[in-house]
Amino acid sequence: MNAPQLALQWSDWLHLFGHYLVLSLLSVGGAITTAPEMHRYLVDEQRWLADSQFNASIALAQAAPGPNILFVALMGWNIGMNAGGIGAALFGVAVTLTGILLPSTLLTYTAASWGHRNRELRAVRAFKAGMAPIVVALMFSTAWILAGADLPAAGHWPLWLLAAAAALIVWRTRIHLLWLLGGGALLGWFGLV
């Protein structure tokens, strides 16, 4: 699928900003847990990003140094590029990154000291215990969707195999993740996956 050509209005940027403000508050376990929702909104519903752009944003941010949250900035970058050029892309970075960070950082900063003082409270412990299995399941969901597990098996099974192998290796060994990403890049470069 090719990148869409967009003509975004101010109201569209506001919707994008508002969407990321909400996702920020929902991103328990890291922003990557909200990637399925980002995919549903940006690719399926609004069609602001091509599926390939969405996946490349996450892959590039994973490959580059720095916190993985920057994949959100790349999504804003790509939306801006689809809507015009580098100026819009930089604006997109500001919109998505500010949106995903502002509520969560304010909330975390305020709550961290409170939680630190009250970690024996039953409510605090219940929240931690209750959210734990949900958060883990959301990580599996993210991996499932990014690996394209719902795509037709023909032609995609090598990708699934690679994703499954990477998951097992990172689970069972302490290998530097860069080796795995480099291995995936090599396999892809030579058309093996």
């Binding site: 549903r40 140094p65 920057l70 970058w77 959210m131 097992l168 990172v170 795995l180």
Partner: protein, 213 residues
């Protein structure tokens, strides 16, 4: 209360290594600390630029083992909160560490250090990528890296799943709740808010009841 919790976390074997007096005080009274917000900014910039595919392991290694700004116990506490709160975990963590020493100025300095230079590097990479995206080798490499990135997230999930053994909900409930969340988000593609608000509320209520026993 804080002292009691820390003693439980440390376990009896490690207790005598630090004075109980210090256990109850806040951090940074007896180990090195960042000199200034600028020091925080630079330190977190260096940390972030070393982190390919995840920064938390670098943060733990550099700040706890080498710089000794935090004890392992303090790191564990902050990391638990950073994971429970919404927002990117490692960003939350850096902000909490910065805030611990210099208040909101420290939090902003650590946050900016974590994001500014890595963002610039990433955008340069993205610009270069746009020029070579049509190259079949590059497209293939990105496809391969995307599959590996998916695997890395799955592997992190597998690691985290291992910590559920000690969850007060118990194994069967954890599996049931996790399976329901996976089905809702990955298979049915329901909006995340439905899974978090619905299943999350059920899970927290169940945990609340279990903790009463």
């Amino acid at each position: 209360m804080a002292g009691r919790w820390r003693r439980r976390l440390r376990g009896p074997s490690s207790l005598p290594t630090r004075l109980p007096l210090h256990v109850t005080t806040s951090s940074a009274t007896d180990h090195p600390r960042p000199r200034s917000p600028a020091d925080l900014f630079l330190s977190f910039t260096v940390l972030a630029l070393q982190g390919f595919g995840g920064v938390v392991a670098i943060v733990q290694h550099e700040l706890v083992e080498r710089k000794r700004w935090l004890t392992r116990e303090e790191f564990l506490e902050d990391w638990a909160v950073a994971q429970v709160m919404p927002g990117p975990n490692v960003v939350n963590l850096s902000m909490m560490i910065g805030g611990r020493y210099f208040g909101w100025r420290g939090a902003v300095a650590a946050l900016a250090g974590m994001l500014t230079v890595p963002l610039a590097v990433l955008l340069v990479i993205a610009l270069l990528y746009a020029n070579v995206a049509t190259h079949p080798g590059v497209a293939g490499a990105l496809r391969g890296m995307g599959a590996v990135a998916a695997g890395l997230i799955g592997g992190a999930g597998l690691k985290l799943a291992g910590t559920l053994g000690g969850n007060p909900l118990g194994r069967p409930l954890c599996i049931a709740l996790g399976a329901a969340a996976f089905a809702a988000v990955a298979l049915l593609r329901l909006p995340l808010v439905a899974a978090l608000a619905g299943l999350g509320a059920v899970a927290c209520a169940l945990a609340w009841r279990r903790l009463a026993r």
